[in-house]
Symmetry: C2
Subunit: 209 residues, 2 copies
DNA sequence: CTCCTTTTTTATCGATCAATACATAAATCG
DNA sequence: CGATTTATGTATTGATCGATAAAAAAGGAG
């Protein structure tokens, strides 16, 4: 079971983290092999031996992103007692995650590969698109749970509400990439939550009466 | 004043329109010279003689986009009698514009150049970023006008509200590019408008009382 | 030690990128 | 007409793209 051959000189996870950071900052097509190898501190043959291809490296980088950056965003969706607190926490965590110092602003899954440049990046683009679609599904599932639990009316348009909040979050990626401050994104989150009772038809805002 | 030399064989505006369509669909970096010349029906020397460079062609394409696609979106902002109708019309027109058949879905100004790949595209990226920032400014100006006219309270956070609605619109570009239907985008627009009274502190939704 | 396996470094591969040289063609000007 | 000007088509330019060939280096296995 002991490893045969010359031992790898670099830390694979560390190199992957550097690749993820570069993909996050420049996108799949925008991060060139020479930039990747420079950031990872290795030569091209080492990259291909360890990860297979630029596309495979990107998929691993996205997976790492999902394991390191996403959980804090989705924590509230899973753990908050009410759907309203879940969505509010979701958007507030997004505002924090998208404006971390010393990290690229915005979301890798939204900004990483919007255009299917050539045949090679079509698969990459489709993978991110599916992850974005899954986000809508997950939010809708949380809303349906709220309907089942009686927090929201039976007629709630869970898919439509989920689409709205995902759209806001995706817009926050653009805003964050454009330099919007954490405070601005939190204000956007508050704005989206201002639509909650009107959207869900749940308990109205009593102070308005 | 008569034109000297051999007359141009192609229609410059028509070729520009084809270039705009390709940039819109694939982004600045994603649209290669060979694809551009193929779409425009001309050879590289003709492109450079008529437009100067790929970057200059992109700027002209963005200008054409602003003249042909943007007006219908911004019409309501300028002409609607109330700010609420202005923003509602703005988002509904966006939903229509972003899902036109036989045209790329989403907005060229949002999707055209998110990453500053190299030194050449940094200027392109910055130009689009400025246009996106100007959008926030324009929406905020419409809100301030509503404050002046008494439609909205004096304490309204015009910049924050403008940031929210621009964020929603930018998220709609991602959604449209991902294949969201016109109906879905209209539902997102309705969702954003559901936040209006809560955000602006204006006249509350009477039906909730 | 000698084999064997794997990683390393160096140098490069063919393809494609944005951008041009060059010669020819098609118009106006004198 | 010849001279000038501009556009066109063909063929390339140097640079960079993602991906490798080849040989030296560094470990364990026998």
């Amino acid at each position: 079971m002991a490893e045969r051959g010359r031992p790898r000189k670099f830390d694979r996870e560390e190199a992957l983290a550097r690749a993820m950071e570069l993909f996050w900052r420049k996108g799949f097509a925008g991060a060139s092999l020479s930039e990747l190898t420079a950031a990872m501190g290795i030569n091209p043959p080492s990259l291909y031996a360890a990860f297979g291809s630029k596309e495979a490296l990107f998929h691993e980088a996205v997976s790492l992103y999902g394991r390191t950056e996403s959980p804090e965003i989705w924590l509230a969706i899973e753990q908050a007692p009410t759907a309203r607190e879940a969505f509010d926490g979701f958007l507030r965590a997004t505002a924090f995650s998208f404006t971390q110092p010393d990290k690229p602003h915005g979301c890798l899954i939204v900004l990483g590969a919007l255009h299917a440049d050539d045949a090679g990046s079509e698969a990459v683009c489709a993978a991110l698109r599916k992850m974005r679609a899954d986000n809508v599904t997950d939010l809708a599932a949380r809303l349906r749970r709220a309907v089942d639990e009686g927090e929201l009316p039976a007629g709630t348009d869970c898919d439509g509400v989920a689409a709205f909040y995902v759209t806001v979050q995706q817009g926050m990626s653009i805003q964050a990439r454009d330099g919007a401050s954490r405070e601005t994104l939190l204000a956007v989150a508050d704005g989206a939550m201002a639509a909650w009772y009107g959207l869900t038809g749940g308990r109205p805002a009593a102070r308005l009466c």
